[in-house]
Amino acid sequence: MERAENVSRFIDVNLQMMLDLPSGSNQQWRPLVSISGDDSVFASRYAAATRENVIKFLALDMENPNSIVSCLRAARENSRTVREAISSEMWEQVNTSYLAINAAASNPLLIHSPYSFFNEVKKASQLFDGVAEATMLRGEGWHFFRMGRLVERADKTSRLLDVKYYILLPSLTDVGTPLDDIQWAAVLRSASALEMYRKRHGHIAPEQIVEFLVLDHEFPRSIHHCLTAANDSLHSISGTPVGMYRNPAEQRLGQLRAELAYADTEHIIKRGLHEFLDGFQTKLNLADQCIYDTFFALRPIGASAPYRAGQ
């Protein structure tokens, strides 16, 4: 669900940026595919990275496991398998959204006017989150749900920032021009962050945007905020006090969170924002894998689990 929402946000930010480019500039859609990490899958199925092909691939392609419709389908199937563990309102919400968005996805006019579609996907995800927030027992199931969602969100916020890196300005001299500002504003808007950013920092300034989306303590889509909350949930599940670790998942996620807690924007930008984000994504993937290994991989009884309860 979170991923479907974020893919919507990606496409949306790109659409906005493309509209604001001076007429005659080349449309840039390939970067969107690169950011999702699905270059080879795309290349094997589509000839050129046109607007239409990329939107099709990222939003409507059932054979792309990360497309919006695939994500929704998976969200619904997963909800169906754990239906006894979630509230019936959550199930009804994900099911109703799935049906509505699937119906909208089969509309041939969608490609030409996709805004309301992306908006609907975003709303569906937010509604789901709200229903879960309001109905779920704050037990293990809730913390897994929240942790998964936040790890995904942290990853995608980093990729959203990366869109800006890939979208080339018409010339180098455009850096810092109104056009540059417009693009940064589009990045913020697609993270639902523009108004909150304005409250915090006022004018559009790349360093402060990075500060806001990566390191801010209080903005709910900032990477640091997401990881702090995900880390809290991880420790609620295991019972390990925050700041300590008893398994690789807690170790990795804790390290990553600490890195962000002591990072500063100046340093990040000096090292290169893209390189920083790339490294971050790799480490987050590792932490994610450790979470899976610790809690979900099947292990025979008696085999020493990486997770040791009560020790």
Binding site: E84, W91, N95, A305
Partner: protein, 477 residues
């Protein structure tokens, strides 16, 4: 929409008398429906279907590559059962389940009923559903069949019969609860005025029944529902019941036998389970005891069950009591164990294992319904009057080759109910499956699943054969 053009034809109609006037319990409903403005009934039907779709009470049509989903056909006109008739049915169902349970217990112990020659011993020995592995087992309180679904039908003359017993894993109760939830919204005024007996307590009754099985006196035994998994056609019901009872839903690979207990995998390690409501067949329960190729079960489960350290509902081995040959002997079973006459009669049944009966059945195939003894879901059966000559000839061959595998019954003129079909109200044949719980005492869920054969003239109500369902309203006395 009006009932003006509705015809009861020459059938018993659950809602109308032969002269076209409503039965007394259905009068209010008939008046309400007749008073609705044009199109309103269809609009409510459409609203109910939308609700079912949103709630995800659907099945996949696998042949379709777009994986379209369909709802189980549901008709909003409820079927009404009057208080006096229900009280009689309830008594009859309790009698039947009580006696069948005594029978199962006897069959796996002394087999007195065979020694007294009430039932031919050969019939038990040849029954596929007889589990020699269960001989000598002692389930808690000697209760074997905790959850039973009994199929009832009504003939042209108004007599109700028991058509079939389901003592293994009867399904469909989730539809009873969902149908009710929807009908309360569809006809709130009539519902209130009629005083309908509630069904909502089923999940908590079921949970109490399951908890009562754990032998050791225990505050709250850990219950889990064992499902074959998401590809099972009743998976929706499994998640629904687990959710409504607030118990864990598990698959075979979530469970292991260790230290003499059944343990459930959790993120915090393994936790013991005390009671398993298993929705998988005996065959798949434990590959060490039953089918060795089963991946659905738990190796070692039966060993632990025998020691009384986990309870199973239903107990393994209950299938012997819903073998369709044994069904023919239920009136005798009731008389033998209880000294009572059967309350709800059986449909007269020809057991083809008896040579004389076989000859009769083959000579009268065009009048009879023939059923395979171990099949359910409307599979492996022949409805003689509706079959072609070739089908009958082919079926006669099957009967001669394996007579033990078949029984035959006269073709009943099943009663009908009004159903919305293509925007019109038309009569369709129905049955009724009430659900019976047996823990410390016996409880019958008021009503049950009314199944409708949606094809005109069809007598097969199973959902796998194009059947739909209705809400069943049992009136308070």
């Amino acid at each position: 929409m009006q009932f003006a053009t509705y015809e009861t034809a020459n059938f018993y109609d659950e809602m109308f008398l032969a002269d076209g006037s409503p039965r007394s319990g259905a009068r209010l409903l008939q008046e309400r429906i007749a008073s609705l403005p044009d199109g309103e009934l269809l609009a409510r039907q459409a609203a109910a279907e939308r609700l079912l779709l949103q709630n995800g009470i659907t099945f996949n049509v696998y042949s379709d590559s777009a994986a379209t989903e369909k709802i189980f056909p549901f008709d909003i006109i409820p079927r009404i059962v009057e208080a006096a008739e229900w009280d009689w049915l309830e008594k009859g169902l309790k009698q039947r389940v009580y006696a069948l349970n005594l029978f199962v217990d006897d069959i796996y112990h002394e087999q007195k009923i065979l020694k007294d020659k009430v039932i031919p011993e050969a019939l038990i020995q040849s029954a596929r559903s007889f589990r020699k592995e269960c001989v000598g087992l002692n389930p808690p309180q000697k209760v074997w069949c905790h959850i039973t679904g009994t199929d009832l039908v009504r003939d042209r003359d108004g007599q109700i019969y028991v058509l079939e017993d389901n003592l293994r894993c009867p399904s469909g109760v989730s539809y009873v609860l969902e149908n009710r939830r929807i009908l309360k919204r569809t006809f709130p005024q009539v519902f209130e005025a009629l005083r309908v007996r509630p069904v909502d307590e089923y999940p908590s009754r079921l949970l109490s029944t399951l908890q009562s099985l754990f032998p050791a006196a225990m505050e709250s035994p850990k219950v889990a529902l064992l499902t074959p998994g998401i590809f099972n056609s009743a998976y929706y019901e499994h998640t629904f019941l687990a959710q409504q009872m607030g118990v864990e839903l598990v698959e075979g690979n979530d469970l292991v036998a260790a230290n003499g207990r059944i343990m459930m995998r959790t993120t915090k390690g393994f936790e013991p389970v005390d009671v398993l409501y298993r929705r998988i067949d005996d065959d798949f329960l434990d590959p060490e005891v039953f089918r060795s190729d089963s991946l659905l079960g738990v190796p070692g489960l039966m060993e632990i069950y025998k020691k009384g350290r986990v309870a199973l509902a239903n107990a393994p081995g209950t299938g012997i009591a819903d073998d369709k040959c044994i069904y023919a002997f239920v009136p005798k079973i009731i008389e033998y164990y209880l000294g009572e006459k059967i309350i709800i009669p059986n449909v007269p049944t020809h057991v083809c294992a008896e040579p004389r009966e076989l000859a009769y059945v083959i000579a009268n195939l065009d009048k009879l319904v023939v059923k395979a003894v171990n099949e359910s879901g409307g599979y492996g059966m022949l409805v003689g009057p509706h079959a072609s000559d070739e089908e009958r000839v082919e079926f006669a061959d099957r009967l001669r080759q394996n007579p033990r595998n078949y029984i035959a019954q006269p073709t009943l003129a099943l009663s009908r109910v009004p159903v919305i079909v293509n925007g019109q109200i038309a009569g369709r044949h129905v049955d009724l499956r009430p659900y019976v719980l047996y823990g410390t005492d016996i409880y019958v869920l008021p009503g049950g699943l009314t199944r409708v054969a949606l094809k005109q003239g069809s007598l097969v109500v199973n959902s796998s054969q194009g059947g739909g369902s209705k809400d069943t309203w049992v009136l308070m006395s």
